[in-house]
């Protein structure tokens, strides 16, 4: 098929939008950490733009989207962008240059790696994080992306729906975060002391950039600029709005309407709609958003206060649980009226789709958990996962990076 200029603009600008999400995430996370770990938290996301960005073009894209090997992984045909050029791919996104599809997908890989880091801030060694991230991209992200989106991937084969990365991005990152949290252990003084966010306006800015970029993430995943992209765009906005409002109400019932709550809700809503955006009626994003706010809110309470897991910035509760709900919701609300290339869901009488979604959730979760555990253990044995007690006390900005966030004549 020939290149369509409008679709090309759409994928390029969507790629730019998704790229911006990683600095957005860096600030979103950074603002919630302690001041003495602010730069280190930002670095944990930002470095992915560099390192993962390069590995993706060297071999990541090939592993995920190269020609299928047994439904499980892609081959080496696209190593180093070999035969990925200005012409469209024969199997993906047939109206835009193959390079455009490749870079769009690369932005997803980058931010998925960055998402995980929220769980391990304030105590994980930077060298360990780097090594882990490289392994994780190779052995977890690329295969899972292949299963779901690769031509011949087995989850795609059984009919699992994942529009923009509920399983590939959010469940994957959220469950992996949980495994790392368990391996890594709690921060000093947790849970006696809960970190007070050092800079909530920075968190707001990050959330604003995430919301903005998420339009590229979800609506861009239509890969064409048409009614479907529009529908996904609208569903995305509705879900964010709905979950933000709901979280505000929940926090109000508990005490007072919280700004941190509103923006956390917005992010949770964006997570939940991710797999569903192009399969459900936009108005279905209202219940999807409402429910995810409750799920993520009470997951935080459960994980942090009851189970005492130190998932520092709530990656499991927001991305893991939010992604799981989103994948299920896709099975419930999907309708062919919105996307003839999709499927009918439970509400249209196809309960089967929920089961398929369940299979995809469980396999991705189990694979991500086990894989991350093994990779994490390995890294721990080779170079150690945690900074020393003393480094943790001084803060990772100075101890890992030799920098501090705010300098000046006095400090």
């Amino acid at each position: 098929m020939a290149i369509n200029a409008a679709d090309t603009v759409w994928i390029l600008i969507s790629s730019a939008l998704v790229m911006l999400m990683t600095p957005g995430l860096a600030l979103f996370y950074g603002g919630m950490a302690r001041r003495s770990n602010l730069l280190s938290t930002i670095m944990m996301s930002f470095f992915a733009l560099g390192v993962i960005g390069i590995l993706w073009v060297l071999y990541g894209y090939s592993l995920a989207f190269g020609s299928d090997l047994g439904g499980f992984i892609g081959g080496f045909d696209y190593l180093g962008l070999m035969s990925v050029g200005q012409e469209p791919s024969s199997v993906y996104a047939s109206t835009v240059p193959h390079l455009a599809f490749m870079v769009f997908q690369g932005m997803f890989a980058i931010i998925t790696v960055a998402l995980i880091t929220g769980a391990v801030v304030e105590r994980m060694k930077f060298s360990a994080l780097m090594l882990f991230s490289v392994l994780w991209l190779t052995f977890i992200y690329s295969p899972v992306a292949h299963w779901v989106w690769g031509d011949g991937g087995w989850l795609a084969g059984i009919g699992a729906l994942d529009f923009a990365g509920g399983a590939v991005v959010h469940i994957n990152a959220g469950i992996s975060a949980l495994a790392l949290v368990i391996l890594l252990g709690r921060r000093r003084n947790f849970p006696k002391e809960v970190t007070e966010p050092n800079n909530i306006p920075m968190v707001v800015l990050g959330a604003g950039l995430l919301w903005f970029g998420w339009f590229g993430f979800n609506a861009g995943s239509a890969l064409t600029a048409d009614g479907l992209a529009t529908s996904a765009f609208v569903a995305t906005n509705i879900s964010a709005a709905s979950a933000a409002s709901t979280w505000m109400v929940i926090s109000w019932l508990h005490r007072r309407p919280s700004l941190l709550g509103v923006i956390t809700g917005a992010v949770a809503g964006l997570v939940a709609i991710t797999p569903a955006a192009g399969f459900v009626n936009p108005i279905a994003a209202i219940p999807i958003g409402i429910v995810v706010a409750f799920i993520s809110y009470y997951s935080i309470v459960l994980i942090k206060t009851k189970l005492n897991f130190d998932d520092s910035l709530d990656v499991f509760a927001v991305h893991g649980m939010g992604g799981i709900w989103g994948a299920l919701a896709t099975g419930i609300f999907a309708t062919l009226a919105v996307n003839p290339g999709g499927a009918s869901g439970l509400i249209e009488g196809n309960g089967m789709q929920v089961l398929i979604q369940l299979v995809s959730i469980i396999t991705v979760a189990v694979f991500a958990f086990t894989g991350t555990w093994l990779l994490g253990k390995m890294v721990d044995m080779v170079i150690g996962l945690r900074v020393s007690q003393k480094e943790e006390m001084v803060g990772l900005d100075l101890s890992q990076h030799g920098e501090r966030a705010y300098g000046g004549s006095l400090r």
Partner: protein, 112 residues
């Protein structure tokens, strides 16, 4: 000379400043501090649930005054910083043995 150190609520700074001004105590040094006392901290909201912060923002005012002005100043501060709620703060009086105005080199009583 004495140094009067008052730890007061942030939101009372303006009133105290104006009161001192009315009594012509103009010179002062102010800084941002955090404190705890009977006021056992306040709860703040996390994304879900809440946490307690026990060091609350306060303002510290320091004025060096002549011995005879001490009670005047203390009363002015105390009256205007008061809300009758826990957390109103404290005033301390500390001896000062010498003072210099850098610009002129004036010392002691003349420096204040």
């Amino acid at each position: 000379m004495k140094k009067i150190e008052a730890i007061i609520r942030e939101e009372k700074l303006d009133e105290v400043k104006q009161a001192l001004e009315r009594e012509s105590y103009f010179g002062m040094t102010v800084s941002e501090v955090s404190g705890r006392g009977r006021q056992m901290g306040i709860p703040l909201q996390w994304r879900a649930g809440e946490y307690r912060v026990d060091l609350l923002p306060k303002v510290k005012i320091e004025l060096v005054v002549l011995d005879e002005d001490v009670s005047n100043v203390v009363v002015a501060i105390a009256r205007n910083a008061k809300t009758d709620n826990i957390g109103d703060g404290k005033i301390f009086v500390i001896p000062v043995e010498g003072a210099i105005r850098i610009r002129t080199g004036d010392v002691n009583e003349n420096a204040i």
